[in-house]
Amino acid sequence: MYSEKVMDHFSNPRNVGEIPDANAIGEVGNAKCGDIMKIFMKIEDDVIKDIKFKTFGCGAAIATSSMATELVMGKSIDEALELTNKAVAEALGGLPDVKMHCSVLAEEAIKEAICNYLKSQGKDIEAYHKCDNCCRNQ
């Protein structure tokens, strides 16, 4: 049912945990639906210097969280905002159709964290050119 890549990221997830002094935190999903993703970032000079996650959810939810954190680690926030759920799924060698929503959550969690960061920096989200989508959960 899952690709080898998914099983690898599920059984050895990268970047699990919390960042105590994170300056960007995003949480999406809800327990009722069975998936919650929480992303912690340390952003310096608009670059993601460190990233960690915690996820409640199925194997695909954990694997997409892990892959999404790998894809944006070290990237500028502008680059990270270009992350798509498709890119996460492709990097994992594909996901079963019923699990595609997990990749959507992973994309949203990253954008949610960045949105919160931009707000905390006093940026005008409406005017921020890359943030068309990043605050759609708020």
Partner: protein, 396 residues
């Protein structure tokens, strides 16, 4: 690792080797059609009747009340649709519970879209339906009541005999899905007082693709399959001779060994339950702790989701299942666990272990330790657990 440990006997069981040996000659050697008049066909017919007598013995019924089918699902579909359509003159109201197997629930769903009205009686928080509440839901136009004998997810045993007593004299057909019960608890159709009873061979070390429906003499139900005159014109289809023969030997063996097998299985189950509940904090034992199948254990582990647990158990050589949505691809957790009143997020973290004749007491510690290690690991990465630890109140 202790080798592969199979803890999913409620899903299916392996065919008993002795049973398999009895089946083999009926594939390539004695392949005659049981409806044919020459000896190759007559021999098959005779063996099928022999199997029918074994099933009848096991259920304390007459052989001519036993009809072979292709599965437990077919038996349920036949009993329910057949009874509903044959009884429309009495009425179009049907009664069942909210924890039935999908073979029953989806059949009622189909009927409710085709002119019937269905009442789903909720079970109590222990997973057992209150017989009096159920009996109170029947009306003058109720034609059929269907209640499973034992639940497939939480193993709870329903008060079939008591319900039959309360329905007596009301001219209502009573069906029970006994698929999980055969070979685990006594199933005596006279004692239970049911009109219709479904069973499936692969749940008690018989072959897949073979089931049976007990139809009490004098019970009118429509046919489900139309065609040839097999099964005394009630169920068309060339008989699955090897499968039926396998079912006969398997049920004979399962019922003969029931008492000693169940006692051994229960001991192992009880040991696992005790150690899990004492060793893993925030674990919940779903379903009545006493009135349940001897081989069934069903847990909910708070703050985690069941699929990850199953995948990691599999990597550690333990085969189990979950009521988790993720395995079925829907977002909803098990309807059975929700029927117990568990909130969604807790119902998502369920694990069903179903022990069988191959389960071994010496595996208990490995099973419990492995579950514990995985649960703790998944909790470490769960934001729900983090919130809980930080004292943030969970939203229900």
């Amino acid at each position: 690792m202790a080798g592969l440990i199979y803890l999913d006997n409620a899903a299916t069981t392996g065919v008993d080797v002795g049973v398999l040996e009895k089946m083999i000659p009926w594939f390539a050697e004695n392949y005659g059609n049981p409806s044919s008049i020459y000896s190759l066909g007559r021999d098959a017919k005779k063996e099928i009747e022999n199997a029918r007598a074994k099933v009848a013995d096991a259920l304390n019924s007459r052989p001519n009340e036993i009809f072979f089918t292709g599965s437990g699902t077919e038996s349920d579909n036949w009993a329910i649709k057949g009874a509903a359509f044959a009884s429309v003159r009495k009425g179009r109201h049907l009664v069942t519970t909210n924890i039935e197997h999908h073979a029953v629930l989806d059949t009622f769903e189909y009927l409710s879209k085709n002119g019937f009205e269905v009442t789903y009686v909720p079970v109590e928080p222990n997973g057992i339906v209150d017989a009096r509440k159920l009996a109170a839901s029947v009306r003058d136009d109720t034609s059929l009541v269907s209640v499973m004998m034992a639940n497939n997810e939480i193993g709870t045993i329903q008060p079939i005999k008591q319900i039959a007593g309360l329905l007596a004299g009301k001219n209502i057909l009573f069906h029970t899905d006994a698929v999980q019960a055969i070979g685990a608890v006594p199933v005596d159709v006279q004692d239970l007082g049911v009109d219709l009873l479904s069973l499936s061979a692969h749940k008690f070390h018989g072959p897949k693709g073979t089931g049976a429906l007990y139809i009490k003499r004098g019970t009118r139900i429509d046919n489900l399959l139309h065609g040839g005159g097999q099964e005394r014109t009630r169920r068309a289809s060339t008989e699955n001779t090897p499968g039926i023969i396998g079912l006969g030997y398997a049920i004979e063996k399962a019922v003969a060994g029931m008492e000693s097998n169940s006692a051994g299985i229960r001991k192992i189950r009880d040991a696992v339950v005790k150690k899990v509940l004492s060793g893993i904090p925030y674990s919940i034992y779903n379903g009545d702790p006493e009135k349940r199948l001897p081989g069934n254990a069903n847990f909910a582990f708070r703050f985690i989701e069941g699929e990850g647990l199953l995948l990691l158990l599999d990597m550690n050589g333990i085969m189990a299942s979950s009521g988790s949505a993720c395995t079925s691809g829907s977002l909803d957790p098990s309807h059975v666990l929700l029927a117990l009143g568990l909130p969604h997020e807790i119902a998502h973290g369920s694990l069903r272990l179903s022990f069988g004749t191959d389960s071994r007491m010496e595996d208990v510690d490995y099973i419990v330790e492995t579950i514990k290690r995985i649960v703790l690991r998944l909790r470490e990465m769960s934001p729900l657990y983090e919130d809980f630890v930080k004292g943030k109140k969970l939203e229900e």
